[in-house]
């Protein structure tokens, strides 16, 4: 016979399980829908998916996403390292010198930036970068993406750093480690998995961002550009534009692009889980 305590325990477990299933069901549904619609299109396009330009409305060939792929790669390669370095140094400064006026200012600015609509970032970068340069460019896109991703990266890395128990800092200082060596030799290695996942989350933010790029990169997808000061395209922009068209072939390439982004994300996530071992405290 169950006691009331056991019944309550069971009910609580069922409640948590139900809420968890409700929470992850839309995510799983979305992933399945994207992969089911998109993956066959990648297979249909074959190698051409990565090297050809996108189809026109009347194309017979499904084409590819080469300009958008190269554009996204350039934007990510420029924006991600800058974002991570800025976020890391900001998080270290704020965690190690919490009462410093600069730390307080950085914390306030980073948290404020997170609440600015990304389309507004696109408008600001249009005025500050695109207009003076006289052209759309990957550089303008990378700056916009850095502004959008920086608060997320900063908040994540700051949380990871702050979650390391004080006792390890004390241990490091007690053997005469300097503050800098404590950060490099103790704090960062302890939190390496958290940082790796933080970098991935930031990368996912950059790979998937659409609105921040709307007015700044030029959506140049008739040929492949590899210059940072030339107009480029990005995969999310291609998805945004093509999924809204009435042409099936363009919708197919949009689904395939979404599936491709999802596969990149899942692959990196699994790789990090396997390669970067968690430090057991």
């Amino acid at each position: 016979m169950y006691s009331w305590r056991k019944v309550k325990d069971r009910m609580f477990f069922v409640l948590i399980l139900t809420i968890s299933i409700l929470a992850i069901t839309p995510i799983i549904h979305m992933m399945v829908a994207v992969l089911a619609n998109g993956f066959p299109m990648i297979l249909k396009a074959g190698w051409g998916f990565f090297v050809k330009t996108p189809p026109t409305p009347l194309s017979q060939d499904i084409g590819g996403i080469a300009p958008s792929l190269i554009g996204t790669a350039i934007l990510t390669l420029v924006s991600l390292p800058i974002t991570i370095v800025l976020a890391l140094f900001s998080a270290i400064l704020v965690n190690e010198f919490p009462r410093n006026p600069l730390s307080i200012a950085i914390d306030v600015v980073a948290k404020s930036l997170a609440s600015i609509p990304t389309i507004a970032v696109s408008m600001v970068i249009y005025i500050l970068v695109v207009v003076p340069m006289g052209r759309f460019s990957a550089l303008a896109g990378a700056i916009a993406l850095t502004i959008v991703a920086l608060p997320y990266a900063y908040t994540y890395i700051s949380t990871v750093l702050g979650s390391i128990p004080l006792t390890y800092r004390e241990a490091a200082y007690s053997i005469a480690m300097s503050r800098w060596k404590t950060i490099v030799k103790v704090l960062l290695p302890i939190a390496k998995r958290g940082f790796a996942i933080g970098i991935l989350m930031t990368m996912a933010r950059i790979l998937g961002e659409t609105a921040a790029l709307l007015f700044v990169v030029g959506r140049y997808r008739t040929a492949t550009s590899i210059s940072i000061i030339e107009p480029v395209d990005a995969i999310p922009l291609l998805i945004f534009d093509y999924i809204l068209t009435p042409y099936p072939i363009m919708q197919q390439i949009a689904w395939a692009s979404a599936a491709f982004l999802l596969l990149i994300y899942i692959t990196i996530f699994i790789a990090i889980k396997i390669i970067v071992k968690e430090v057991r405290l």
């Binding site: 200082y173 007690s174 053997i175 005469a176 290695p189 302890i190």
Partner: protein, 249 residues
């Protein structure tokens, strides 16, 4: 000359008066035990000596503190800590480093070892001094989470002595470990005092009686009694001292 001398030391944290006019003289090559109830300021005394108190941004120190002749409040804290090892209440070996690396890092950071062979020798010496060598000599590349709590604490002791300190601060080092490991740690502490001045915080009057040469009793941030252990255990002067030594506070 004393290894550590504190004159009218007052410590404030968030405007709370934690240590009140502390005066201590700790002789070289002795085991100096600080006793007192929880929250009386024992750990704060240790953290003032090696300036770990600086990690609390709202802390403020008044008075004069001399460690090995250095003026603690004006000396570079990173340089000061080269001479002062510390073992904490909760074992805190670096979780990302192996047993070997945990000990070696202290020697390397302080430039004690010039070659790999010398480093190996220091690691072995420190682990022997901490009475841990026989238990880990075949598993030096294991990680701390694979050790028991008592072994982890002795690893922390080995790490602290690998930097060849002149002073060793021990903050209730046996509070979280079993009696067998506690006894091994006590033996290690007693064997160290020929080379190192040991300052230990403990709750246990039995432990203090076993290891102490000198005792100070702290209550509410003040030193209520201090003196040679043998004398103080037999003739405590105050009621508070008697109660703390009897384990009633």
């Amino acid at each position: 000359m004393y290894a550590i001398e504190m004159k009218n030391v007052n410590v404030y944290i968030d405007k709370r008066h934690i240590l009140k006019d502390i005066n201590l003289r700790i002789p070289y090559n002795s085991v100096y035990v600080i006793m007192g109830p929880s929250g009386s300021g024992k750990t704060t005394i240790l953290k003032v000596i090696n300036r770990l108190i600086d990690l609390i941004p709202s802390s403020k120190i008044d008075g004069a503190i001399y460690v090995l002749g250095f003026d603690v409040l004006s000396h570079d804290p990173y340089d000061l800590r080269r001479y002062i090892g510390m073992v904490f209440q909760v074992p805190n070996p670096f979780p990302h480093l192996t047993i070997y690396e945990n000990v070696a890092i202290a020697a390397k950071i302080n430039g004690i070892a010039k070659s790999k062979r010398e480093l190996d020798r220091i690691v072995k010496w420190a682990l022997e001094k901490a009475m841990l060598w026989n238990e880990v000599k075949d598993r030096l590349h294991d990680y701390p989470h694979q050790l028991s709590g008592g072994q982890r604490q002795r690893l922390c002791l080995a790490r602290a002595i690998a930097m060849k300190p002149k002073i060793l601060l021990l903050d209730e080092p046996t509070a979280n470990i079993d009696p067998v490991n506690a006894r091994k740690l006590e033996e290690a502490i007693i064997s160290l005092k020929d080379e190192i001045t040991v300052v230990m915080v403990t709750h246990s009057s039995h432990q203090a009686a076993r290891v102490a040469d000198h005792v100070a009793i702290i209550y509410d941030g003040k030193v209520v009694e201090q003196g040679p252990a043998k004398h103080l255990f037999l003739h405590p002067l105050t009621d508070i001292g008697q109660k703390i030594l009897r384990g009633e506070m």
